[in-house]
Symmetry: C2
Subunit: 121 residues, 2 copies
């Protein structure tokens, strides 16, 4: 359970197997549950959507904050939760932080819900 960086590797060992695949261990389930907890908030989902869909792949926190009727600290909190879940990463350049999704994490979540049985049918 070491945290080498601010980001936790939340998908870890459970990353690549679909739910319809091998048994999910307790530790892996706990890690994945944290990711889904991060996603269980409408504002965070909309933030992730905005970051994932922005042209150029990178969203300035200044643009994200303006889209919600929420204070900057509240938006920052939500972004931090997404970051700690390993879904996005941010880079400060000058005044602002710029966020982008971590494609591998989204792809792993996509794979989690994949139903291989249907593709091989």
């Amino acid at each position: 359970m070491s945290k080498p960086l601010e980001l936790e590797d939340v998908t870890g060992a459970a990353c690549c197997a679909p739910l319809s695949g091998p048994a999910l261990g307790e530790a892996e389930a706990a890690e994945l549950a944290k990711v889904f907890k991060a996603l269980s908030d409408p504002v965070r989902l909309r933030l992730l959507n905005m970051i994932a869909s922005v042209e150029g792949g990178e969203a300035c926190v200044c643009d994200l904050t303006g889209a919600f009727d929420l204070t900057a600290p509240t938006i920052s909190h939500h972004l931090k939760v997404l970051r700690q879940a390993g879904l996005i990463e941010g880079e400060r350049r000058g005044t602002w932080v710029y966020y982008q999704v971590i494609p591998d994490k989204l792809t792993r979540l996509s794979g989690l819900f994949a139903l291989p049985a249907l593709t091989s049918a």
Copy 2:
């Protein structure tokens, strides 16, 4: 926000667009957040995994309960949450309830995290 059945159609209008696609509306984000809240528990994730991976596609609640060091009512509660999130459905036959995943729902969640930009690159 009508609930025609016990199951809510939680993926609804937001079902098919990926997070990297069109803007996610407030209502759709709220519905999806509920699904992820259902998934934000390790026991529920393991239950979903067991149901999704069971041979024959159908899991008896009697088998699910035995796999956890939890009481039957607790397992039942977790199954109810998954059911209300539209992830599984159950059918009572005789003494037991048999559960199966709702493939469309899992596929929609898989699509939510898909990154179309990568597949077209």
